[in-house]
Point group: C2
Chain length 335, copies 2
Amino acid sequence: MPGIHEVARLAGVSAATVSRALSGRGSVSPATRARVQAAANELGYVVSSSASGLATGRTRNVGVVIPFLNRWFYGAVVEGAESALLEQGYDLTLYNLGGSDEERRLVFEHFLLRKRVDAVIAVSLELTPDEVKRLIDLDKPIVGVGGPLPGVRTLSLDDVELGRLATEHLIALGHTEIAHIGGDALEMDFHLPTNRRHGYVEAMEAAGLHAHDHHFHAADFTMEGGYRAAKQLLGNPVGRPSAIFAASDEMAIGAILAAKDLGMHVPGDVSIIGIDDHELAEFFGLTTIAQFPDMQGRMAVEVLMDELHPGHREAEELNIDLPFELVVRSSTARR
Amino acid sequence: MPGIHEVARLAGVSAATVSRALSGRGSVSPATRARVQAAANELGYVVSSSASGLATGRTRNVGVVIPFLNRWFYGAVVEGAESALLEQGYDLTLYNLGGSDEERRLVFEHFLLRKRVDAVIAVSLELTPDEVKRLIDLDKPIVGVGGPLPGVRTLSLDDVELGRLATEHLIALGHTEIAHIGGDALEMDFHLPTNRRHGYVEAMEAAGLHAHDHHFHAADFTMEGGYRAAKQLLGNPVGRPSAIFAASDEMAIGAILAAKDLGMHVPGDVSIIGIDDHELAEFFGLTTIAQFPDMQGRMAVEVLMDELHPGHREAEELNIDLPFELVVRSSTARR
DNA sequence: ATGAAAGCGCTAACAT
DNA sequence: ATGTTAGCGCTTTCAT
């Protein structure tokens, strides 16, 4: 492990010049820079992040805090963020809050505070005002993905609009008896399931249709949950819906399997639409509304970089709406 | 952000004593330790990892290098490792090598070397001797998960045995025409698919059965790949197998769906077994051989901790065999 | 058991 | 454009 002084010696300059040449800060003549770079390469020199971090207060590392890792959506967000960070020369330190409250407390009270990260990306987490304050007091930019956070820059989907769009797609195909498989409002942050349901209800009412109570089923956002809910919905001889809007693709896929197991054809007997564009959606021919989680991760990094290295442009809106797109496949059809 | 000196002042001791009291290294009277701890709590003091890292050379951070994040298996390994590391007061910095070779080079030549991590966990990655050497030269312990790595402590499955066990399960149920959906040997590190296939062939031959060439199909470890391979296998009117052993659960689930789409019953018309115990395996009633990826992540951390804080016990085997377990559900039955 | 002091490897003023 | 110097905040000898 050669240090900066060895590079300096080999290049015939001072350590300060090496630092300047390698970091790009401060002015160095092109010739010197080249010599320094050659020397650094020859020795295989890499700065010590501890030393550099101590001297500058910057670590070139960002913390990503997520509620689960092992769901398609979160994995994709992290993947997008990681690759964007790598391009910028940043590392990504991961905090999975899936476990206990104690774990969450530890992360916020110790891990994030030990000056290991320059900034934090919080995915689908409703941070408490106290948690936000702690980070802001430390001068650490935060960006949230997945829901507005008071006083924090966030990227989020308009879930009401998503619910409306999915429902309108079904209505436009002539469906009137449309069921909804949503989530339990209490289970997830940001009332995402509630908002999607609102969009569904609004679209129904706007079309003069009725969103019957017996056409709503709560599930847990898993394939199995969607399967069970759809069995209930489709098995009931009275008031059987001709279309189902599930609040996630995994639930929608569960619904497709339930329909098949009941001997029904999709979309012949029942149309099904989800939300996500999950990696399995194409395989199942699922019509869905794509959100682009890896891009969300990349966007979060871009927003952070703007805050970390100001100058590009000034902060516009505090909250940025994420794009989404209806992807029509073969699980929905005219009634 | 209070520093160590403010804690020292409040506790009425020197900074050195605070350091000793909080880290547990060196001797401090119980009374002093209590006062220091109280002072630290009151001020919300947390050590600066840069400063501590610079002074000690230890960062309390482990790098985890994986080929993809967004597959069930890898997500679970990382999840297990993350939570085990958190318990030990360590952070986890993630490097996803899914992208280009350039990305991989960057990670090994820069990121891992800038003294940000104390150790490395490499999941399912065949590190080159040069990559291993770089890390060892830096005195960074490495543990590999998923395949023996020359000169590195590793945790790995006996894939030949896995293939044999899966096949023997089918043979014991009376099947003789057993097909195998494997992977492309070139695609994955460690010849995992090849080894599983060897186990299959060995079990067949040991039972006096023949592993026909037309009973093997390569696929890409996805559900869709498994679906397509199974369609070929089951659609062929001559030599149709009565059982299929797929080298992964995702492919096995694809095979189940293919059988259903062909109007066949599982396990009535065809028995199907996979490997993994994927999160969806239970839902599909899939018989499988469970490996326990989250536990693998935890074990990797334990092995690392042994290397990082020697004393517990000395290194036994270089390679540790991972446990696995046949889980019989409803996708396999007597012929 | 505790304190004083040196130093980990780098960066950023300040000089020149 | 480059060198000199003084820290960044902590840990760890070395004294006592």
